[in-house]
């Protein structure tokens, strides 16, 4: 019963992570650009969706605004700073995007205040769904459906379209694709913008589940990094599987590990170590993967 519900919660967290990881891993795969500011785009998406939804009363409008807003921010960021950074080394990427995080966090707390915003679940999705006789919140179920739909869309785009062919080729050898007359910089700008929009979407759908506040992007960004490292850098397929793994492991760990520990060791020790161990679980998973397969579980074939 509880197990099934937590499994679905993990799945829901996993698809959210996938929305973030897909864009991040692609931009890294082609231009080897390290983007720490991806979490800021997620935060901006959440804020835009929350404020538009609260102002107009329509959640769908908020979702759309977040998508378009983050697309615009992504295009702007790419033009102003990111495009100038491709030729520089990783350290400069880290520095520049670290600066962006500071900027966006401060901007968000200036525009929307330090208090977290709350978004209500849209009335259409407010309720429970009956899954094989088990009640589950309809909204969370919808998030899983949206995430899986985006994953299918990504698969279709990457494996069935001309654009996807270019993306795959670019991930293999960007210079060669450029030499064949493809505007690789435009391609990458496009990917950066799409990644930004996906991050915005993730933020928007996460709004009603989490509280929307400045700095909300960083914990999820770090979880996304774990996803990418486990999945293999540059691989969207790897990002999908490992996002689901990380989502489920993290959620299950937090739900059941303290209980499980209580069975084995003294209650006092379990209460102290349980939550700590649960929050470490995904990092331990990552360290184990790295120790055994440094290139990641589902590495893109090069």
């Amino acid at each position: 019963m509880l197990l099934f519900a937590q499994l679905l919660n993990g799945l829901q967290y996993g698809v959210l992570l996938f929305l973030l990881a897909a864009g991040l891993t692609l931009v890294f795969g082609i231009m080897s650009f390290v983007n720490l500011a991806h979490g800021s785009l997620y935060m901006m998406g959440a804020y835009i969706a929350a404020s538009v939804a609260n102002a107009t009363g329509s959640f769908l409008l908020g979702l759309l605004a977040a998508l378009l807003g983050c697309l615009a921010i992504g295009v702007l960021l790419e033009r102003v700073a990111v495009a100038r950074l491709y030729d520089k080394n990783h350290l400069n990427h880290v520095l520049a995007t670290f600066g962006m995080i500071m900027f966006f966090n401060e901007l968000a707390s200036m525009l929307w205040g330090k208090q977290p915003l709350f978004v209500s679940v849209p009335p259409m999705l407010d309720g429970v769904i009956n899954l094989f006789g088990l009640p589950y919140p309809l909204y969370r179920f919808a998030v899983i459906v949206v995430g899986l739909a985006v994953a299918v869309g990504c698969y279709w785009m990457i494996h069935r379209t001309r654009l996807g062919m270019l993306i795959r080729a670019g991930a293999n050898n960007a210079a060669m694709v450029g030499a064949l007359g493809i505007n690789i910089r435009f391609l990458n700008a496009l990917l950066f913008a799409v990644g930004a929009a996906l991050a915005g979407l993730a933020g928007a759908v996460a709004g009603p589940i989490l509280s929307v506040q400045a700095g909300m992007g960083e914990p999820v960004l770090i979880a996304t990094f774990v996803v990418i490292v486990i999945g293999g850098i540059g691989s969207v397929k790897g990002a999908f599987y490992s996002a689901l793994i990380v989502g489920v492991v993290d959620t299950m760990g937090r739900a059941f590990l303290p209980m499980l520990l209580r069975e084995m060791v003294s209650r006092q020790l379990a209460d102290a170590a349980g939550p700590a161990l649960a929050s470490l679980l995904i990092y331990l998973l990552m360290a184990a993967v790295l120790a055994l397969r440094p290139q990641g579980l589902f590495v893109a074939r090069r």
Binding site: A81, L95, M102, E106, V229, P275, S279, A287, A291
Partner: protein, 340 residues
């Protein structure tokens, strides 16, 4: 002739003068009644120490470690936890810092060094987050809020690191020794091999150096030095919190190193001084100082090359060109600068 001209070149003379001038800060501040500045500059010295530690990994070995805050936090918790246990002497606490930072540095370093480039950045970041979450969830030690330190470290002979004056001089001394060591390291075989591994790992390995092992040693040494900075910082603030391990601190350390000049001896000192002073000045004008500081960091990444030390090297060339015998020196210094 050659030694005097090399000692008085701006890139060496100015930072050295600065370091010596810092020594005179406490008496001057006492005379002017501006005690605030002693504590403030002690913080600068401590961050300069941490940035120097990062410089060993980032500047010398070329590894982008994004998790050095972990070791600052560990060093700080060594003080707070042992003072909670009734241990007040600084020496066993320092031993604790050495052992804990050394072991955890070796463990995380060995795993992290299995990856390159972006993987290394993400993994060091993830490890520091691990530490952060562990201490956040340890509710009996303050959890999120951190814990204040009941009794600060005693060095013996009645010296208490909790008062700002001994702490200032202790931090200065540790920093000076570290900088001297970093200077020697530039020409020592270990440092040379390390700096070579930054440029071309395969070539250094082909020359017979165990490059990965040297990098691991550098990582562990850097972790211990960072732990020492955390130890001092905890005594300065009489407080240890998981916030010291947050990824922002790691990012700030990177900014300090790059701002000052990567791979140079004095760069981290200049960078830490510039960073913390800028922060204080901007904070006094606006609460939203990060709105200005963020874009400034982006600008540094877009334009900056060798940071403040790069500017001083440029001064070197300008000064030497004036002298008749300076020609050869100038080219030597340019070559020296290029080597960094």
């Amino acid at each position: 002739m050659k030694t005097t001209s090399s000692l008085f070149r701006p890139s060496l003379g100015i930072p050295l003068l600065l370091l010596l001038a810092l020594l005179a800060v406490p008496p001057v501040a006492a005379a002017l009644g501006a005690q605030f500045y002693v504590g403030f500059l002690a913080r600068v010295l401590i961050y300069a120490l941490a940035a120097s530690a990062l410089n060993l990994v980032l500047g010398y070995a070329g590894l982008i470690g994004f998790g050095h805050a972990l070791f600052i936090g560990l060093g700080a918790y060594c003080v707070s936890l042992s003072s909670l246990a009734g241990l007040e002497s600084a020496w066993p606490q320092l031993l604790l810092v050495l052992v804990s930072c050394g072991c955890i540095g070796a463990l995380t370093g060995a795993i992290s060094l299995r990856t390159r480039g972006i993987g290394f950045i993400m993994i060091t970041l993830a490890f520091s987050q691990m530490g952060y979450f562990v201490f956040v969830s340890l509710k009996q030690y303050g959890g999120d809020d951190g814990m204040s330190i009941i009794a600060t470290s005693r060095l013996g002979a009645g010296i208490d690191l909790g008062s700002v004056l001994p702490l200032f001089y202790a931090a200065w001394g540790v920093l000076a020794v570290t900088l001297l060591w970093m200077h020697r390291l530039r020409h020592a075989p270990f440092g040379m091999a390390l700096r070579g591994s930054r440029q071309n790992l395969a070539r250094i390995s082909a020359l017979g150096f165990p490059a990965r092992r040297l990098q691991l040693i550098a990582y562990v040494l850097s972790a211990i030095l960072c732990g020492l900075a955390g130890f001092l910082l905890a005594n300065l603030n009489a407080y240890a919190s998981p916030g010291l391990m947050s990824w922002q601190v790691s990012g700030e350390l990177i900014v300090m190193v790059v701002l000052g000049g990567m791979g140079s001896v004095f760069g981290p000192l200049l960078g830490a001084l510039a960073f913390i002073c800028l922060e204080e000045v901007m904070k006094s004008y606006t609460e939203h100082w990060m709105l200005i500081f963020g874009p400034m960091i982006i600008l540094i990444a877009l334009t900056g090359r060798d940071g403040l030390m790069g500017a001083l090297h440029w001064l070197d060339v300008r000064c030497c060109q004036r002298g008749a015998s300076g020609r050869i020196d100038a080219t030597a210094i340019v070559a020296n600068g290029a080597k960094q």
